[in-house]
């Protein structure tokens, strides 16, 4: 690969005419619901949940027993990887998911990217926090406790000079975007967005800018995260967003239900390709959907809870609706963030109500987090993929575990619908009060 033989520079000043439009031409996802579009769609249609008992490690002494994890064997995607990459994948589930989802759509990505100059294509990825593998560090700590070693040194280990940029316990955040950039020669920029649950939604928003301003023709966007490891479960559990499992271990996440008491730990990774109108004209490729609007605001309220007034959430949603230019009754579907935590769901519905007013009663609202769990930094890309699948298949998934809705007046759907899905609003909100929303329009081809 001649990744460095590109003597161009790329400058913001060389902006050219903005066409004002950004399109998604392809996407794919690895989700607890399945590998790739077909698997995910089948699980959605057949109401097959991704939830299961944690078997990857012993949960004997912690109260969290269930999660939605990718159960399929990913080793098929890991052939022909170098030792360095394999090493990094072994310690970092996120990176394993990145590599696998890249391999899943590698062929399509290469076709889409191949004819563009490296200075006209870039990547923005949303990545979750790096949490060291418990198994890896537990043994080190026994040594430490015996006074043998300095913890930092042992955990890090002496890096092998061959694997220059890869650590053992913690990986640098940008290995995900750098890995993909290297494969596809995405030279304009390689960026990593770190905003927890909104990471990949904000990554999508951050990739619209360069496309709209004519700086780039194509931006690969996506995200990856996994919280199914002991230390992450403990962290989120202590924050009170994961329910402690008692009795019935499954169906623990019930978005918009009066009895909701927490979300479901999940994992996912995926990519979407965002292109300019110029690119579509040149290649003749038919887009799947157009990103017509977005909203992005901060609560500035508390670090541990959303603003109960939902002011900023409302502002983000109304920014997305306003920038789409549609009237509020035109929306066909609202894919809610709906984590199933006590605070989020009610505030989210209140925010939606204050934007959509009476029209909200006619718009189907659902969350799919009860099926695939909350993939934190990959939640955005996973749910974007589901929304795109819905558009293509004229299908709306219901909130499976919903029995008694918080607000019976609203169209909080429990079972799946088969209907046209053209104009969709999609929400993602992050812990600490970061609100992002996207307005998407299906492209008829």
């Amino acid at each position: 690969l001649t990744h460095t033989n590109v003597p161009h520079t790329y400058a913001l000043n060389d902006w050219i005419m903005s066409t004002g439009k950004a399109y998604i031409v392809d996407y794919d996802v690895i989700s607890p619901l399945g590998i790739g579009k077909v698997g995910v769609m089948d699980s959605l249609k057949n109401n097959q949940p991704g939830e299961g008992i944690i078997t990857q490690f012993s949960t004997e002494n912690i109260p969290f027993k269930s999660s939605a994890s990718v159960r399929e064997d990913l080793s098929a995607f890991q052939n022909d990887q170098t030792t360095g990459i394999c090493e990094a994948m072994k310690h970092d589930r996120k990176f394993e998911l990145t590599v696998s989802s890249f391999k899943l759509m590698e062929h399509k990505l290469r076709l889409l990217c191949e004819k563009i100059d490296p200075s006209r294509k870039g990547i923005v990825m949303g990545v979750g926090a790096d949490v060291p593998s418990y198994a890896l560090i537990a043994d080190e700590f026994v040594d430490i406790q015996n006074g043998k070693n300095n913890p930092f040194n042992r955990i890090l280990g002496k890096p092998d000079r061959f694997h220059e940029n890869i650590a053992r316990a913690w990986n640098p955040y940008d290995i995900h975007s750098l890995y993909v950039a290297e494969q596809l020669e995405l030279g304009a920029f390689q960026r990593t967005v770190l905003t927890a649950c909104t990471s990949s939604t904000q990554a999508v928003i951050a990739s619209i800018g360069p496309v709209l301003s004519g700086q780039c023709d194509l931006v690969v966007t996506g995200g990856t995260d996994s919280v199914i490891n002991p230390l992450s479960l403990i962290s989120f559990g202590k924050l009170g967003v994961l329910p402690e499992s008692e009795g019935n271990l499954l169906k623990s996440c019930r978005p918009f239900d009066v009895s909701r008491n927490g979300t479901l730990a999940g994992e996912a990774a995926g990519f979407a390709v965002i292109v300019s109108e110029n690119y579509l004209e040149k290649t003749g490729i038919n887009p799947i959907c157009q990103i017509v609007g977005h909203g992005n605001t901060l609560d500035a309220y508390k670090i541990t809870a959303p603003d109960p007034s939902g002011q900023s959430m409302m502002k983000a949603i109304s920014q997305a609706v306003a920038s789409s230019g549609w009237s509020i009754d035109e929306f066909d579907y609202i894919h809610a963030h709906g984590t199933g935590t006590f605070q989020n769901d009610s505030v989210e519905l209140e925010a939606l109500k204050s934007v959509f007013d009476e029209s909200l009663k006619n718009i189907p609202i659902s969350s799919t987090k009860d099926r695939h769990g909350h993939a934190i930094a990959a939640a955005g890309i996973q749910e974007l993929s589901i929304v795109l699948l819905c558009m293509q298949n004229r299908f709306i998934p219901g909130t499976m575990n919903l029995e008694e809705p918080i607000d019976p007046d609203l169209k909080l759907i429990k079972s799946n619908l088969n209907t046209n899905v053209d104009k969709v609003l999609m929400n993602n909100f992050a812990f600490g009060g970061i609100n992002a929303a996207l307005a998407l329009k299906k492209c008829w081809t």
Binding site: T9, N13, I16, I166, L178
Partner: protein, 503 residues
């Protein structure tokens, strides 16, 4: 009379819009016949003046739009919807406004109108065909026309301005724990936030915050108080933050794990970890907590993004913020970075990127208030404008250290500069070589090496602040700042003195 119907171009935003002026005078031959005794500017000439102005815009936009070095020669093909609302008389100054509606490889459409003394005289929509020079064949008039177009074009760009800034740096070097197995100590620069400050965060929060975040909050709160930013302005203020390698949670993890493992008789280790983990540990795992803290204490609620990938994230945040400011002309935003310079970063830094002789890791924060130059109600007093940002198209390998560099290229391709500031995590040898390299190429340059230590994403902000100082002190016009990250990706920013007008 000559057929030059644009006297000067007042402003141009390539790809978007253009404004020009044409003055009509009674000594023009045309008024002898149009009409005898009652001079009126012919309507067709007004249409033509809009067409000539749009022609300039199309010509200027075309090459950038299609990455095509060929000269183009826009020709008027359709006049649509021309409407004359009033007449233009000799002595009137026509302000011509025009904007591009669409542009394809062979054709373009634009819309224009003419104002005289604040009244709209006419408006028109025009279509052009855009043949290339080679399609037309050799024509001596093209050269002539080109001279004319370039002589009257004065470019006023829509710029992002820095109107205020705050910064703090590690004041002293402290020796910390023995980090190396061989007993050698690492030198770190750490921040010590002023606990007496009126902006010092609440006690319950400071337990969770890193010192650099506290320092950012104190600095920014002071800045915003000084500028007198109202509650309402804060609601729409954007916030762009770069956080570098956010790995300092290592500390907390290690503390709670050490507690859990301290009793050898505990068999149930995972349970013990659960027990000893503080409830808010996840805040350190949630990568956006620094953004949330800053937003909370500043009441900033607008567009936001947190970038994190080594020192290049500083550039990513800055470039994104500049784009935001250029697109949303009325907006203002805060952009900045903080670096904690903790034990873990230092260790990573020393082990992975450089051997011991390099820059030491250091803490620091720096924030700018950015506003649009066309904004009527600037919050702060403009200090400097950004005229150029670019980065090398260099895709680092995650497995190998890269050797190839295009640092000189990126500076050469940018605008002319008077002085260059270099920053990045070099070794002292590398630093010398880089300075020599640029000096040999004829650049007056200085390096930030050794001044503050490596501050990761803060480097580029510190460079810009140093540039501002130079612009003010040394009466330079333009300064370039080149920052190189550990992966050898180069980011380049040019700033310009406010009153400097480049022709």
């Amino acid at each position: 009379m000559r057929f030059l119907l644009v006297d000067k171009v007042v402003s141009i935003e390539t790809g978007k819009s253009i404004q020009g002026v044409k003055c009509w005078s009674l000594d023009n031959e045309i008024f002898r016949d149009h009409f005898p005794g009652a001079p009126v500017v012919p309507g067709v000439l007004l249409v033509e003046s809009v067409a000539q102005l749009l022609g300039i815009l199309i010509e200027k936009s075309f090459n950038k739009r299609f990455n095509d070095p060929d000269k183009v020669f826009p020709l008027l093909s359709i006049i649509q919807k021309a409407k004359f609302r009033s007449i233009v008389r000799p002595g009137d100054q026509c302000e011509i406004h025009a904007e591009l509606k669409s542009m394809k490889e062979m054709k373009a459409t634009g819309r224009g109108y003419i104002m005289v003394d604040g009244r709209k005289i006419m408006d028109v929509t025009l279509n052009f065909i855009v043949p290339k020079e080679k399609d037309i064949g050799y024509n001596p008039f093209i050269k002539k026309r080109e001279e004319y177009v370039y002589n009257i074009t004065k470019v006023i760009r829509n710029n992002a301005l820095i109107t205020a800034s705050c910064k703090s740096e590690a004041k002293r070097k402290i020796e910390t724990k023995v980090l190396e197995e061989d007993g050698s100590a690492a030198i770190l620069g750490a921040l010590e936030p002023d606990k007496e400050s009126e902006f010092y965060p609440e006690r319950s929060d400071t337990k969770l915050m890193r010192n650099d975040i506290i320092e950012s909050i104190i600095g920014l709160s002071g800045l915003m108080k000084e500028l007198g930013i109202s509650e309402k302005q804060r609601e729409s203020l954007g916030l762009f933050i770069a956080n570098g390698v956010f790995l300092e949670n290592a500390d907390t993890f290690v503390t709670s794990l050490t507690k859990a493992f301290s009793n050898p008789s505990i068999e149930n280790r995972l349970g013990a970890v659960y027990k000893y983990t503080p409830p808010l540990l996840a805040l350190e795992t949630l990568t956006n907590s620094s953004m949330s803290f800053i937003a909370k204490y500043l009441s900033v609620k607008g567009y936001n993004i947190t970038y994190g990938n080594t020192s290049a994230s500083g550039f990513a945040a800055l470039e994104d913020a500049i784009r935001y400011i250029k697109n949303e002309k009325s907006a203002a935003c805060i952009v900045g970075a903080s670096n904690c310079g903790g034990i873990y970063s230092n260790l990573m830094f020393r082990k992975f990127y450089i051997s011991t002789e390099g820059w030491h890791e250091s803490a620091g924060t720096a924030f700018f208030m950015l506003e649009n130059s066309q904004n009527q109600t600037l919050i702060g007093k403009p200090k400097v404008k950004f005229i150029h940002t670019s980065n090398s198209v260099h895709i680092p390998s995650i497995l190998h250290k890269s050797k190839q560099r295009f640092h000189l290229d990126i500076v050469k391709k940018g605008p002319e500069i008077d002085h260059l500031i270099l920053s990045g995590p070099f070794t002292s040898g590398e630093n010398g070589r880089l300075v020599d390299h640029f000096s040999d190429a004829g650049y007056s340059c200085q390096s930030r090496f050794g001044k503050t230590g490596n501050q990761g994403p803060v480097n580029i902000f510190s460079g810009v602040l140093e540039g501002i100082e130079l612009l003010q002190r040394k009466s330079l016009n333009r300064v370039g700042i080149l920052d190189i990250d550990p992966y050898q990706r180069a980011s380049y920013i040019c700033i310009e003195r406010l009153d400097y007008e480049y022709r």
